[in-house]
């Protein structure tokens, strides 16, 4: 816990801001000149950056994007819980519980290793095709299930890294106070582990927002599918840009929120961040 300098001197900070601003504008200007000056630019602009098209297709796609948000919210909730369970199962040391550990290992190997699109098809078309009574055949349902299954595998590895980063002496200290193994995990190890992995968890959350578009492969119409339909009407690609902007409107604030949360936590618990 040595004191690290968090901030260079005020003077050099202002100098830094100025230099950064100048160099950024030079690079951006050069880039703009090269791109807009190129031979094919008018056609690219017409196809991808058509302002009228953008305004015209925005409401429909934004409407469909609400579906993406819904899928994301529901899936993320389950993922955060299931992934923690899988990570804890993976970490068990008792021989009696070895089957749980084995399950966790196989699960993660399998669902992290197969492309999501394959699993989407297998679950979304395969399971309803079995025709078992009581099994839903709603593509929305199977789309969400697939995302939960795939991302649980990824996120459990994030949690596991967090759990393993907590020094064993923390567990020992808790156990030597008389806490049970579960209590030590619940009150001492997991709270520290989860705090440490908030940035990578957020990273995966952003990955998930984009993967919500995969659900469209089963038929449902969300933002990506809606823009695809608009594109195929007249082969202008601007609707894709609309979808891209919508995704960015969610993912960029999420990233900034994470940074803020992490900084606040550090400030609260560490002396050198005062």
């Amino acid at each position: 816990m040595g004191a690290r300098p968090r901030r260079p001197l005020r003077q050099s900070r202002w100098a830094g801001v100025v230099i950064a601003a100048v160099s950024t504008s030079v690079v951006l200007t050069l880039l703009a000149v090269v791109i807009t000056g190129s031979e094919g630019w008018p056609r690219v602009q017409e196809a991808f950056f058509n302002g009228d098209k953008f305004a015209e297709t925005w409401p429909d796609i934004a409407q469909a994007f609400l579906k993406n948000l819904q899928i994301f919210a529901v899936a993320e909730l389950f993922i955060l819980v299931f992934a923690l369970l899988v990570a804890v199962m993976r970490g068990v040391r008792s021989p009696v519980l070895f089957p749980l550990k084995l399950f966790a290992i196989v699960y993660v190997d399998l669902f992290r290793g197969i492309p999501s699109i394959v699993i989407i098809y297998m679950f979304g078309f395969g399971i309803p095709a079995l025709g078992i009574d009581g099994v839903p055949d709603d593509p929305w349902f199977w789309g969400v299930v697939t995302l939960v299954i795939v991302w649980t595998a990824y996120v459990s590895e994030v949690y596991r890294a967090g759990i393993e980063s907590v020094h064993p002496s923390q567990d020992a200290a808790a156990r030597s106070l008389g806490l049970s193994g579960f209590q030590a995990l619940r009150f001492v190890v997991l709270p520290q582990a989860v705090r440490r992995v908030i940035p990578p968890l957020m990273n995966d959350a952003i990955g998930l927002t984009k993967d919500t578009a995969l659900v469209s492969f089963l038929g449902p119409i969300e933002a990506f599918r809606r823009s695809q339909m608009k594109v195929s009407a007249d082969f202008n690609f601007t609707p894709y840009l609309v979808a891209a902007v919508l995704f960015l409107l969610i993912t960029i604030p999420l990233t900034r929120l994470t940074d803020w949360l992490v900084a606040r936590e550090r400030k609260r618990t560490q002396a050198n961040a005062r």
């Binding site: 200290a173 030597s176 106070l177 008389g178 009150f187 002396a271």
Partner: protein, 268 residues
């Protein structure tokens, strides 16, 4: 030889011990190996209630391992440990229940960094002893006040000095009201100027009659505070006796050689 390890006001101040009571701990033929390495090779040790036993010996002699075995944090290979007559190494014993009665404080404090001082101290009383928050906090506040930490109770451990952190760790163990307290080189990770504040706490506990086993490199402290000093050498208790016997004229050449090395290093 000047004493470099202890400030003058701490050193050379033997304490008045509480009269010893019945058997608090009995260890019989304790063995422990890590893989090929045999660390404890048949330890026999008895500790009476209110007794303060200092474990001395070179690094690697088995002091820490012995303490960790008594707390059952390390499973023992062979041998028996009894606490107040009850065998804790028996198979049907709940280790969690044993650990409630035996406190241990580690060299590296091992406070929970995500919790305030108060939460560190009240966690085990609340979750293990099932005290209410109010009861646990009253108990914690009394201890924190007694050891001069009351104003730190809402701080996180990273904001405290090493000496303060170690005192909190001792308070955390005391909050469980253990029958026996194990101290594993509690000052070894501290800045020399912070050593005395921690030793003062231990001294106060000794005067109050807390039964303790203290692994330490602070020989001056061991001499002042212990009823008995045990010299561990290569996994065995080679020699034991009162501080006067051990530091005055040890029988075994290994003990004498160890103490001489310590004196040359300026720690006695």
């Amino acid at each position: 030889m000047t004493d470099l390890s202890l400030p003058p006001d701490v050193a050379r101040r033997p304490i008045a011990h509480t009269e010893l009571g019945g058997e608090a701990l009995r260890i019989e033929a304790l063995y422990k190996s890590f893989g090929e390495l045999q660390v404890l090779k048949g330890i026999d040790l008895e500790v009476a209630e209110h007794e303060v036993v200092a474990l001395i010996g070179a690094s690697g002699s088995g002091k820490s391992t012995l303490l960790r075995c008594i707390n059952l944090i390390e499973p023992v290979d062979a041998g028996r440990i009894r606490v107040s007559g009850e065998e804790i190494t028996a198979h049907n014993v709940s280790v969690d229940k044993v650990r409630r009665r035996i406190g241990i404080v580690y060299q590296s404090f091992n406070l929970f960094p995500h919790m305030t001082v108060l939460a560190n101290v009240t966690l085990a009383p609340r979750k293990v002893l099932k005290l209410s928050r109010g009861e646990a906090e009253a108990r914690a506040n009394a201890l924190l006040t007694r050891f001069g930490l009351a104003d730190k109770r809402h701080e996180h451990p990273d904001r405290l000095s090493g000496g303060q952190q170690q005192r909190v760790a001792i308070v955390r163990a005391l909050a469980m009201q253990p029958d026996l307290l194990l101290l594993d080189e509690v000052t070894s990770a501290l800045d020399p100027v912070l050593v005395s504040e921690v030793l003062d706490v231990v001294r106060e506990l000794a005067i109050a009659g807390m039964t303790m086993i203290i692994a330490t490199h602070e020989m001056g402290f061991a001499r002042d505070i212990a009823n008995r000093v045990c010299f561990l050498h290569q996994g065995r208790i080679l020699e034991q006796g009162t501080p006067a016997e051990m530091f005055g004229g040890p029988r075994e050449p290994e003990t004498a050689a160890f103490l001489e090395r310590v004196i040359r290093a300026g720690r006695l």
